[in-house]
Amino acid sequence: MKDELTLAQNEFVLKGITKSYGSLRVLDGISLTVEKNRIVAVLGPSGCGKTTLLLLLAGSLSPDSGEILGLDGKAVSFLFQEPRLLDWLTVADNIAFVLKDHFPPAEVEAKVTAVLRRVELTAYRDSYPRRLSGGQRQRAAMARAWAYPSRLLLMDEPYKSLDLGLKLELIRQFLQFWTAEPRTVLYVTHDIKEALLLADEIYLLSAKPTVVRSRYAVPIPRSRRRLDDYSLLALEREITGELLQEEERNLT
């Protein structure tokens, strides 16, 4: 485990980030490093400021103190809890909406076509979002995130409101994308099993005021991970215990 907080081969580094809303201290000195092309999961009790952390990384919030290295003005893709599609644009135009400032029209067209094929929404390219199911909308949002020319993908529990079947389907598609063109992914979730299947590393945050409580490396290569694997089960138990402690602290 590397502890030196320098950029080097890392995608970004956070040093002692704090953030308060009024008198409420949310983040109380978060430090972490994320290596390039890694999938990093962030777990934490409810309301510990996970979304705040993502918004700081995306540049839509500024920290009160501390440093963010490596993200200055960089393009960032974001998958929200909700699909956040524009209802009055077709699926294709929704994706094109974030591409048009970066590519000439022909290239936008080609990228949209390619990404829609990958999420299996080609038949819906000219449909309006309201005609799609919840899972299809979230796939369109995923297509937008991957079509966008970024190095970093931030995910804020995008599968939270979906049932298990859809969730597994979306996770499969997510991994296909990532395998084909790896990006650095920071992934906020409540679901320990999900984190264990997907992540290279897991950061566990404390209750508010929030700091990094622990950091785990998932020992088995992603392709060979099974949730009934003994070492994963042990890790799951350990993380669950810590998370429960934080949830309890949250309540008192």
Partner: protein, 226 residues
């Protein structure tokens, strides 16, 4: 029926008398000139107020301080009786322009209010999404703000235009310009030609219906995504 009971067209003319009056009107050149004058005033007043309402509504919807200053002004304008506006306009303007001015003052706050409501209806989460994806401001405006306010613009147009004909004709009754539906109605009233007053009323109602229909067709094309 009431006409048959009283037998007096002066009080309440029957449909037959009204249609006779309408037929007489339709065949006179003065009718078309009066209609033209009223349409011109109505559209001038409506067009100006729509434009001004759009611009000021956008400013006060997008800039908080501007909105804080502008909103009470809008409420004041909306609660001022149209008759007060007409009386003041009679003092300030030529008879020809009174209706345009009054229509402007009545319709403008309605449009501005609708534009502001439209901007407030925009989902801040979508704006956040567009900013995170570094979409350029003008594209955010065109792709996100404009489509969101289009239904509100349509509502403003429909209710604004409906109001326009009522206000324009009322102002014409009081200002009595040389040409105009309102002026002709007032003349008919003075000579107790009640069927003609009814006929003109019918014309104004049909005018309102006609433009409402046209507008509805335009709007349906504009919001196909719904």
């Amino acid at each position: 029926m009431a006409a048959a009971l009283t037998g007096k067209e002066i009080i309440l003319p029957g449909p037959a008398a009204t249609f006779r009056a309408l037929k007489n009107l339709l065949t006179s050149a003065a009718f078309w000139r009066s209609l033209g004058a009223t349409l011109l005033r109505g559209f001038a007043g409506f067009g100006l107020s729509y434009l001004a309402g759009l611009v000021l509504g956008l400013f006060s919807g997008l800039s908080r301080p501007f909105g804080i200053i502008f909103r009470p002004l809008l409420v004041t304008m909306r609660s001022t009786p149209s008759v007060s506006l007409i009386l003041l306009a009679l003092i300030w303007f030529r008879a020809d322009l009174v209706a345009v001015f009054v229509t402007f003052l009545v319709v403008f706050p309605l449009v501005a209010q609708n534009v502001m409501d439209g901007i407030r209806s925009i989902d801040p989460q979508l704006v956040e999404m567009a900013r995170i994806y570094q979409v350029k401001p003008w594209r955010i405006f065109r792709g996100l703000y404009l489509p969101a306010i289009i239904p509100y613009l349509a509502t403003a147009a429909a209710s604004g235009l409906g109001l326009t004909w009522k206000v324009t004709v009322t102002a014409e009754v009081m200002a009595a310009p040389a040409l105009g539906i309102g002026a002709r109605m007032d003349t008919a009233r003075v000579f107790l030609q009640t069927p003609e007053v009814f006929a003109w009323t019918l014309v104004v109602v049909l005018l309102g219906l006609l433009f409402d229909r046209v507008l509805e067709n335009l709007v349906e094309k504009g919001i196909a995504w719904r």
